[in-house]
C-alpha cells in the first residue's frame, strides 16, 4: 500500500481521507512507502498516537539529518522554534513563554479579541451584501490577535495584516509568498531590536526580560505568527461553512449560545486540520500498538484519523456539539502540544458568537462542490468562501 500522508485527497470535505480511515481499521500501525524513497510508520489509533506523541524517545529535533522533517519547510527554523527541538532545550524555552498562554491570561484578552472580531465584521458588512470570508474575516482576526500579542504598533497594522494574508494566500506565486515572509521576518526582527532598547507591554519585551536573546525572540515571534495565523483562519472558515451548510447545527447555537465553546471543541476534533499530528524520529527500539519500531525509523501520527477513533469517540463521524470531548488531538499531544491553543479557542468562540448574533441572514453563495479546499496540506482548510447576507 502506498500512502503519502500529506498528499491524500479527501473525497468528502467532512471526512478524513478514506485511505487514512482504512489504515485505522486494517493496520493501525503500518510501515508504509512514504516519500523520498523512504518508509515511515503511520499511526492511526487514538491511544497509539497519544503514546507516540508523549514519548520523548520519539525525537522532534529537525536539525538531525535523519529526522523526517529535515530539509522540509521549517518555519522559523532557528533558536526560538520550539516545534523543532527536544527536551531539555525545548522545556527550557517553552517554560519561559508558557506563562503568556495560561487560561487566566488568555481569558483577559477576551475584550480585545471581541474588539478585533467586531472591527473585522464592521469592515466586512460595511455597505455590502456579500463578501469573501477568508480575506475579510478568517485571516484578519488571527493576524490582529497575534499583532496584539507581539505588540505591533497600531500604525503598522495594515502592513502586518497585508503581508500575513499574502503568506497564506493559496493563489499567490511562491516568489511573492517568499517576499511576504521575508518582509515579516525583517519586521519582527526590527520589532525585537526596538524592544531591546525600549521595553513595551508585549510578549517580546517580557521574553527579553526573562533572558531570551534577540535571535530567540525573533524565532519565537515568527513561530507564533506562522503557527497561529493560517491554522486559526482555516478553523474559522471551516466552522462557518459547517454552520451554514448544516442549519440544524446553526439553530442549536442560536437557541443556546452557551453551547458555542463545546461546538468549537467538537469542530476542532471533527476537522483536525493539522492532519499529520507530529513527525518524529525513533531514537531507540520500542514497541507501539504491538509493532516493533527501530531506532532511526520515521514515525507520523494521523491525528485526523485518531480523532475519529470509534473506541474513543462514539459515532465519531457525527458532529455533536454536546459531546463534551476534549481529549482530541487537534492541537497535538505531549510536550509539544500547541502553545497557543487557548488563544485559538477564544478567537473561534468570539467569532462564532458575533457572526451568529450579528448576521442572522448569512448564507453560502456556492455549493460545497464548488468550494476550493486545501487538499495538499500541511493544514486542511478552505481557500475562499463566498458568503452573502
Amino acid at each position: 500500500m502506498t500512502v503519502n500522508a500529506i498528499q491524500t485527497r479527501r473525497v468528502d470535505p467532512y471526512s478524513p481521507p478514506t485511505e487514512h480511515l482504512e489504515l485505522q481499521s486494517d493496520e493501525p500501525v503500518a510501515f508504509l512507502d512514504w516519500r523520498d524513497g523512504r518508509k515511515a510508520w503511520a499511526i492511526t489509533k487514538h491511544a497509539d498516537v497519544r503514546t507516540m506523541l508523549s514519548d520523548v524517545r520519539f525525537s522532534s529535533d529537525r536539525s538531525n539529518p535523519d529526522h523526517p522533517a529535515h530539509g522540509g519547510y521549517v518555519p522559523g527554523a532557528h533558536k526560538g522554534a520550539i516545534i523543532a527541538i527536544d527536551p531539555p532545550e525545548h522545556s527550557a524555552i517553552r517554560s519561559r513563554v508558557m506563562n503568556e498562554f495560561t487560561v487566566k491570561k488568555i481569558s483577559l484578552m477576551r475584550p480585545r479579541i471581541e474588539e478585533i472580531v467586531s472591527e473585522a465584521l464592521d469592515a466586512m458588512l460595511d455597505g455590502k451584501s456579500e463578501a469573501e470570508l477568508v480575506e475579510e474575516l478568517s485571516l484578519p482576526v488571527p493576524a490582529m490577535a497575534i499583532a496584539e500579542l507581539l505588540g505591533v504598533p497600531y500604525e503598522d497594522h495594515d502592513f502586518f495584516q497585508h503581508n500575513t494574508s499574502l503568506f497564506s494566500d493559496a493563489h499567490i506565486d511562491p516568489k511573492q509568498r517568499g517576499e511576504a515572509i521575508a518582509k515579516l521576518r525583517d519586521y519582527i526582527s526590527e520589532l525585537v531590536d526596538a524592544r531591546v532598547n525600549e521595553r513595551g507591554n508585549d510578549i517580546i519585551s517580557r521574553q527579553l526580560d526573562a533572558g531570551a536573546d534577540a535571535e530567540e525572540a525573533v524565532g519565537l515571534g515568527f513561530l507564533l505568527l506562522i503557527a497561529g495565523h493560517e491554522t486559526t483562519a482555516n478553523m474559522i472558515t471551516l466552522s462557518i461553512m459547517t454552520l451554514l451548510d448544516k442549519p440544524d447545527l446553526l439553530q442549536q447555537l442560536r437557541e443556546d449560545p452557551s453551547l458555542i465553546p463545546g461546538a468549537v471543541e467538537e469542530l476542532l476534533r471533527y476537522f483536525t486540520i493539522a492532519e499529520v499530528g507530529g513527525l518524529r524520529l525513533a531514537t531507540t527500539d520500542l514497541e507501539i500498538g504491538g509493532k516493533q519500531i527501530h531506532a532511526g525509523d520515521a514515525v507520523f501520527g494521523l491525528a485526523n484519523t485518531a480523532n475519529r477513533d470509534p473506541e474513543v469517540f462514539p459515532d465519531p463521524h457525527t458532529i455533536d456539539f454536546k459531546r463534551g470531548a476534549r481529549n482530541h488531538m487537534a492541537f497535538g499531544f505531549g510536550p509539544h502540544q500547541c502553545l497557543g491553543q487557548n488563544l485559538a479557542r477564544l478567537e473561534l468562540v468570539v467569532v462564532l458568537e458575533q457572526v451568529i448574533q450579528r448576521i442572522p441572514t448569512l448564507r453560502l453563495l456556492d455549493p460545497l462542490s464548488a468550494i476550493a479546499f486545501k487538499e495538499w496540506g500541511p493544514n486542511y482548510g478552505i481557500n475562499e468562501l463566498r458568503v452573502a447576507w
Binding site: S95, M98, T102, V103, R326, N327, G332, P335
Partner: protein
C-alpha cells in the same frame, strides 16, 4: 465516600492549562504557567470524574490520581 489523591508533577508540566478547563476547582496555574493543585482530594463522585478527565487531557501526563 470517595478516596483518591491528585498528584501533579510540576517538573514535567508544559502549562497547556487543560486541567484548569477540566476541573477549575481542583487546578490552577501559577504565574509561570505551572500546574497548582487547589483541591487534592476529590470530595464527590463528580469531582472525581472531573479529576479523571484532567488526568486524561493532560498532554504531558503530569497528573496522576492515586486511589
Amino acid at each position: 465516600m470517595v478516596s483518591a489523591q491528585i498528584v501533579a508533577k510540576r517538573e514535567t508540566c508544559i502549562g497547556a492549562g487543560q486541567c484548569v478547563f477540566a476541573d477549575p476547582d481542583a487546578f490552577d496555574q501559577d504565574d509561570n504557567g505551572l500546574v497548582v493543585v487547589l483541591q487534592a482530594d476529590p470530595a464527590s463522585p463528580d469531582a472525581l470524574a472531573r479529576a479523571k478527565e484532567a488526568v486524561n487531557v493532560c498532554p504531558s501526563r503530569s497528573i496522576t490520581l492515586l486511589a
